[in-house]
Point group: C2
Chain length 137, copies 2
DNA sequence: ATTATTCCTATCGATTTAGTAGGAATTACA
DNA sequence: TGTAATTCCTACTAAATCGATAGGAATAAT
């Protein structure tokens, strides 16, 4: 299941990408327009900023803005920041690999094999979709 | 994240599919061999039986057995029973559809569009993989 | 009868999710 | 220089889900 955090984060990024120019967009504006609890959205955008997806400006007339072109913001990266690993099990994760305690031999594990295929097919979509694709109306 | 329930369920199905003949396999045997808590596995196999993936025989010398050939047991179906919807959001689920409360127009929602693509690529794998594929050594 | 097994219901602790609360720090501007 | 508006940060919380565990009823073989 996609978390609300990810869902809200994607909607907010799309909203920002659709703005004219590159002026900072305020959390309050996004929250209102996209029907997202403002305080929750604050924390989400903070996460995105810390991970390098967004820039911010503090104080009055502050807000969030893109620091890359939409076409350079890859969904796979955004998803990893918001949702965590793309793989369904840690033992097939490229970026968050962990061995299973219960599995003596990974190469003989059928769950492992299946989940590698699922991961690869998901990645193919997420690597080839950018924020630009989402924000085209 | 794949739940332990699903992981254990897939391992158990594979174990059963690999047996000679079609004699009932006991929960205790599977649990021991695959390092799965027995009581937990009991409830998982019960779920699989109720959903039509497995048959069972009660009492002494009882156990679980396949009621279809491994090549007829589709991973997409098994995953739906164990893990629930394959889609990451209910609004793109084929079998468990639900409208989002926050989304006024589904067709204009960018999350919706992206998640349809993810769902389809995942389905392509899960529909084309059967228990036979998993159980070939 | 006895034993071995599935079947069923209920409960529980830990973790995660989806926020909320409160305020500090920073900036614009009158 | 003061005030308002904004991001930033920490802490907390209610509810749901996960990963079991407990205890025993029902059923079948011997």
């Amino acid at each position: 299941m996609l978390s609300k955090k990810t869902k809200y984060g994607l909607k907010a990024l799309t909203y920002i990408a659709r703005q004219e120019g590159n002026k900072p967009v305020q959390v309050g504006e996004i929250a209102k327009s996209e029907q997202i609890p403002q305080k929750f959205l604050e924390s989400i955008l903070l996460t995105l900023r810390k991970s390098g997806c967004l820039g911010s400006k503090k104080g009055k007339h502050g807000g969030y803005y893109l620091i890359k072109r939409p076409s350079e913001i890859i969904m796979a990266d955004v998803m990893r920041v918001l949702e965590g690993p793309i793989a369904m099990v840690p033992c097939v994760s490229l970026n968050f690999y962990e061995k299973c305690d219960d599995c003596p031999d990974e190469n003989k594990c059928t769950v492992n094999k299946l989940m590698i295929e699922v991961r690869d097919s998901t990645l193919q979509v997420l690597r080839n979709t950018t924020l630009e694709d989402l924000s085209i109306k």
